[in-house]
Symmetry: C2
Subunit: 328 residues, 2 copies
Amino acid sequence: MHKEILEDIGEKELINRLGKFMPKNQILDDCALIKTKNNDLLVNCDSLVENIHFNDLTICPRDLGWKAVVSNISDLLSSGSKKTIGITISLILPAKTEWFWVEELYKGINKALKEYGGIILGGDCSKGNQKAISITAFGIQGELELRRNACKPGDIILTTGIHGLSKLGFMIQSKVNFDNKFSLNERLIIKSIEHFCRPKVYPNFLNNLLKTRSQKKIRRIGCTDSSDGLFQALQDLAISSKCKAIINYEKMPKDKDWPKGDKWDEYYLFGGEDYELVFSLPKKWAKNLSKFDKDIKEIGFFADGSPSVEFKYNKKNKLFNNTPFKHF
Amino acid sequence: MHKEILEDIGEKELINRLGKFMPKNQILDDCALIKTKNNDLLVNCDSLVENIHFNDLTICPRDLGWKAVVSNISDLLSSGSKKTIGITISLILPAKTEWFWVEELYKGINKALKEYGGIILGGDCSKGNQKAISITAFGIQGELELRRNACKPGDIILTTGIHGLSKLGFMIQSKVNFDNKFSLNERLIIKSIEHFCRPKVYPNFLNNLLKTRSQKKIRRIGCTDSSDGLFQALQDLAISSKCKAIINYEKMPKDKDWPKGDKWDEYYLFGGEDYELVFSLPKKWAKNLSKFDKDIKEIGFFADGSPSVEFKYNKKNKLFNNTPFKHF
């Protein structure tokens, strides 16, 4: 009998299959939802595994702690969390791990919590061969429900910032694929490392959305974050919302010194770990918001059609042929 | 410079040090507490790591899923949870893991949730070298706050059932230290394997406590579970509550076929994974409860004195000299 193993299935299909063990009314989104009498809680869990998601060469433990928190808060924000309550931390660590490493990790964790709100609620620590940090983060659902499946044909697609920088930062830090033959300038190098090691999120995002809302009755909008890359975010929105994302290549916000060329477009589209929000709004709201917050850019729109992502001008669509298929 | 590593520190000291990164008002207990307007939520996280907490030889994935849920629900109950809301699951799995293994694990998880209440709220899955299952469980804090630090001198110490069986089950399953030279009978063997693979918890515990309460104003009682063994549970209560546990060796409930001898006393005291509750009550309440529920047994009392565990009759105290010190 053929034994089906996870690397044959792939991550997306695995998550799909696991979803079938959940009750039907439970949302399959960036966060899980716990309904309580007054407030609905948003819950997100995310694991970082050594040599898969990080290694000692590319990121120091203090930055890793910061980043672990930020990646969870990003998921809370992309579901419409109005306040981060706190986190629990499950550590798996080899017996030979230095206490210094753990202490630094926790300093980074607390630094991020101090910046964005929330406390350490609890945790546990187990022995294992490979370092792993699983964080479960808790937030309070705000007035607007931000969900992957809430994009509508006609909506404008927006993003909070520039993509690709974290990937570039990773390449610079890992020194493997990077010899600066592109003569990148010092500013872009520093900025990219900063984006990779100390990513930021936008805690004002929800307030700014509320301030610029064109119709009070709209309470659900389509949103996710670009933790797995801009393309993946757009595809997740398109598939969950059952519509087609049409992207204007020229409108995608890039760093002013970002090099040209297909390779760099791929870093931009598939890089990941930028923690920018990718979302959709009705036209008027989109106009209000991008006028109110100059960092937020319109990059395309949703249309009726089979769930997919394409560029407005056909010639750039070849980029998607190189979608790096992620084996588990 | 000497580099301090985790195996030098030990698990208890590590948890202590990590506690210093938490806000002072946060409880260091079996569960973390999230205060919301109407209900307080109890949150517990626990990881099971392959070759540390389980292996394919001793437990099948369906039983492992069951057990992972039960160990979390046990922690919720031992903090006074009146209802399990649900769990999130973080899996770390090698790429060569069979889908069948994952499916079986989830079947076991859902079977336990069906038995004891709660749903799968969400989760994530990452690649790694070594299988690890981190579950975060959510419960609603009931009227009685059960806390490790709430035992009082004069309180009677009680337990919900028999200890040591899970350890015996583990030895039988691992076939390493077990050749049945003790001629254990079939019933005890089956019961022990059942305790190891399919441990149970007592969801009626909280109701029975409330039904038998001697004074309505008592709202906090000392409690933990014996997941790390009876001795560890008693020591955790004694240290957190700053008093001395005095145990009556003869009163500890044992299986009627449990062999005699120091080795077997050690399995009983230090075995772990029995998920019985170990708790303390004022005398009258203790009498009411153990009359109401015949499985619950009084095994000793708390007294003023330095935090420690000792037997009422001195000659048995040598057992504690062999406390298996757990390196990380």
